[in-house]
Amino acid sequence: MPKEFDMAKYQKMFVTEAREALRVMNEAMLELEKNPDNKELVDQIFRSCHSIKGMAGMMNQTVITNLAHGLEDVLSSVREETLTPTDDVAECIFNAMDALEAMVSSYESSSQVQDNPQLIEELKAVLTKAAPIKKEKEKKPKKEKATPTKPDTTSISIKFAKRCALPSARAVVILKELSKTSSVISTNPNEDDIEKEHMFEELQVVVEPGEKLQEALQRVLAMADVEELYLGTSDEPREKWQKMAKQEKLSGPTTSEAALPQTVRVGMDKLDDLLDNVGELVIGRSRLLEKANVRDDYELQEISSLIDKLTVDIQTRVLGIRMIPLDVVMSRFPRMVRDIAKNEGKEVELVVEGGSIELDRTVVDKITEPMMHLLRNCVDHGIEPADERLRSGKRAKGLIRIVASKQQDHVLIEVSDDGKGIDLDIVRQSAVEKRIMTQEQAKDALGRDLVELLFRPGFSTSSKVTEVSGRGVGLDVVKRNVEELGGSVMVNTAKGAGTTFSLWLPFTLAIIDAMLIGIQDQIYAVPMGTIVESHRFGVDEIKTIRSRDVVQLRGEILPLISMRDFFGIGSLDRSKGINTLIVQSRDRRAALEVDDLIGHHQIVVKSLDRRLRKVKGISGGTILGSGKIALIIDVESILGG
């Protein structure tokens, strides 16, 4: 490889691609354990392993190449059905994959990779167990079966769209594409005419079809200006030619890589910058709209509404680019659960639903660790050993479910097990031992308060409830990470029946719907997701319970929290009634008294300086169309404390 190549770039690419290949292998391997006869899975694993070998070879990483090579040998025996991919063989394959993963990681961090000769020996040992070939190998490779014999030439007719401005240019590109896979024999109009840039609406090409002609045609069809494409053998009359359908991105039954849209890898930092710009654009758009609407200038209004529309488009697209499906992390979980369960001698089945739901990359990254922790928890001390389960009338195999679902403006991820549940008495005992509660307090404590204790730093790791796990990361980390994202965690547990952890997460962090309100001389924003409704109460509707203000709405008693009191500023005259927002955080509701309700806006969330992050009642800020700042009200911290 010439020196001027930017090696760092290739290293990065190698690491990401190798990881992706390993992810695919892991997934396929887990499937394969369940269906050892599935040839396609074996092929997939083999292909991925092979591509790791190839990439590592290119990077001169002989250690990785050797291991991949050893693994490939085993896989090829599996493919030839001389080895069955279960038990020891599977274990060995998994081990090799883990070792590859570790090698890739150490290559990423230090460019140094430790050799693992022992593992290669193990792989060789597995190979010796290979039985002689059981079945007669099919004589004919599949490929030939799939493609019927073709006459020597194929005619293609490509119809351009009427608005195609430069058919010649387009035609040149198409011919280039076709000649990559097949040899072009003749064209109509002929190449001279094409070069002269005459106008035409149809291009006919006769080719000697190559192997990947179909793929090339799909690419041609996907080009702009190409409206229809007909295909037939040259000796057939034209009427018999078949129209080739445009393939939708996902509907294609072929797994061929060429059918995938072309992609560009972009660093997350660049997307962050882009999003910042979009944020500015959204603000600028609001200012423009404000100004345009007060002027009597039809043209200006038309332009501003065009800009408005484009801004919304750009915003949705940029946010969309940042979205990745939950599967990206969740696909790692089956393997993890399998390993932990095996380690503990338990039988566990993991069911994952809703993996296709897309969330902002930042959100997905931040919840990976918490979810892994929850899963470990489930296996470690949720699911009982098989004999114990049978005694209590359950299936021997424990069930863990991860269900992700869309809920209005949030995503709900539930991690649940059908294990023994959290024993609240043990929590009580532990709370007393740790002097968090007195004996009496513990006795009277409600389930909700006790469960809350599990999220305290230091509580979970040393209490009996979770000491089995002892992995250092506590539930407090789960809570903290989720809350940093503006989400929340809830626990539901029933002794003997299981535990469910519910994570409420925002789809995206950057742009949210909010209600703008006025308090004293400042504007604040309250996220729509926390608002139930707004309501105006008369002064006589304000009652007190033990000297705390309350109001009633349709029979429900709600605490009345004055934002002015909360902020410690002079209160407002209430004699003419008060404006309130009924807000909700988790299962708590309250009425927030504010000065004015201004209106609904989309806001770009900006984070506050480290020094202000701990301040109660505020979770961030945004910049309004006027350039002024509106702080974002943190309903949870107001209701919680």
């Binding site: 300086d609 020094r611 202000l612 301040v615 910049i623 350039g627 700042i629 702080l631």
Partner: protein, 161 residues
Amino acid sequence: MTKEGALTLKEDALRQLVVFRLDKEEYGFEVSTVREIHDMEDVAKVHRAASHIEGVVNLRGKLLTVVNLRKRFDMKPDGATNPKIVVVDAPDAPVGFMVDEVVEVVRVPVEAIEKAPAYVASGIEAQYVVGIVKLDDRLITVIDPLKVLELPEESSTQPRR
């Protein structure tokens, strides 16, 4: 760049200082720590924040936290008619310091920066006071803004409450 009271370490013969006024006293930041000077307008108050935090302002689309230096130094909190914000590059994000007035940028020889007398810069003050510059009949206290930021949240030079 200027982690350790850079003024005492550099070899150059001249120092540039951004000189600003708090009440009747003059102070200086080394120019390399200062990113820009900003007008004090549209400050959003952050209630329940530490008392020396004046609020946040919009610095080209980002939220800039503004520290009220008078309050931080336990001086009479108001009295400035047209305060300015000196924006300083702190390690994680820029921070603004609200001052009464930005007077000038001066060049002084390194030797002109003298050690502060012990009774002025004792205890916690010694952490951020770099030295004193005598300029004609003026006295400029040179301080390290990053060290000021490291002061404990609520406690100040002389705890009062």
